[in-house]
Symmetry: C2
Subunit: 208 residues, 2 copies
């Protein structure tokens, strides 16, 4: 399900709010079908990293079928010290990996940070997360925010709410009660799954 | 041993290169002695964090006596991926703490990074290091680079070589064959020790 403009997407959203969506995954009549490896099996952990609220979402990929496994948040109280936040991130990611055994992790590439202080803080959170993932042997990839929106919504300037709605369509789940950090994390996992399947893996970036 | 200007320090260095230094720690005849808690016992791990070459140095503090325990580098090959570097940092710091049981860690505050990309990379390394230290229950402090130079050399724009020489004087060790990342790390540990002792602990910053 791809849209050529935001107006087209919004129209589609308005229609689908009334009637439950019946759109199937990758149902693109206007495009020639891309051959997909039917034996492809991956469990992908998407992570929307931040110091205070880190969203995560896990999906299973079998051939071209995507299935949500679980999602949630690693939350840190707003007044807890930086070292405590990073410790909780490190431990939280380790617990997730030990519980669900994903083989691949996907992060948001933080290429567009303007402020040095923000970059340093976000960098710290990413450092703790990447170190924890690497220690447990996961392959780690990162995608630019625009690329995630492009892959899920069809255009790069979609809002987080639009991403959430399309995530619910891709995975056939209700996302109304999810926080947007969680749906963003699921969108990252979907992006990687799409790169693996729809382009035969040629669009997959170099692992971190 | 404090100097009022760089010229004065350089003169002192020139004199001390010929004759081995006999200067005693905190021998400041011109200052009134500051009362020091003689029961103060700390093992401080100083870390000069970077993604590729992280220097570390451990000192023992007993009353106002400082003693070097060990120092070295956590090195990452220049072409190894970021995730591998962060994993090695996380594991390296954990090994150090398990081997030497320091109770306090001191990092360089990265307040003056100008480039967003550098800030992100340095932030990642700091994130992995801080998470590893916090997980093992160490108290973590950070000092600005100028403050470290001020504490060790007496003025804030000392060169790394001058810091190395003064570290050798403080700890009564030969530092000629040490890399400057290592002596910088020892200087951080000395700075914290000085803040604990010479000002009765009032100059110690809030832990991270």
């Amino acid at each position: 399900m791809r849209f050529k403009s935001q107006a087209e997407l919004e129209q589609w959203i308005a229609q689908n709010r009334q009637a439950p969506a019946t759109a199937k995954l990758h149902a693109k009549a206007e495009r020639a079908p891309v051959p997909v490896n039917p034996n492809l099996q991956r469990r992908i952990l998407g992570i929307d990293t931040a110091l205070r609220t880190t969203g995560w979402g896990i999906i299973d990929v079998r051939g071209k079928i995507l299935k949500a496994v679980d999602c949630g948040l690693i939350k840190n109280p707003p007044n807890s010290p930086v070292s405590e936040c990073l410790k909780r991130l490190l431990g939280g990611i380790r617990e997730l990996v030990q519980l669900y055994h994903p083989d691949t992790a996907v992060l948001e590439g933080a290429f567009y940070c303007r402020n040095v202080h923000t970059a340093m803080m976000l960098g710290s959170a990413r450092g703790a997360v990447i170190a924890s993932l690497a220690e447990q042997g996961l392959e780690i990839y990162e995608y630019a925010p625009r690329r995630v929106k492009q892959a899920v919504c069809g255009f790069g300037n979609a809002s987080k709410e639009q991403v959430a709605l399309l995530v619910s369509q891709f995975l056939h789940i209700q996302t109304d009660h999810f926080l947007l950090d969680t749906t963003d994390a699921l969108a990252m996992a979907i992006t990687h799954a799409q790169e693996l399947t729809t382009t035969g893996g040629f669009g997959v970036p170099k692992p971190l």
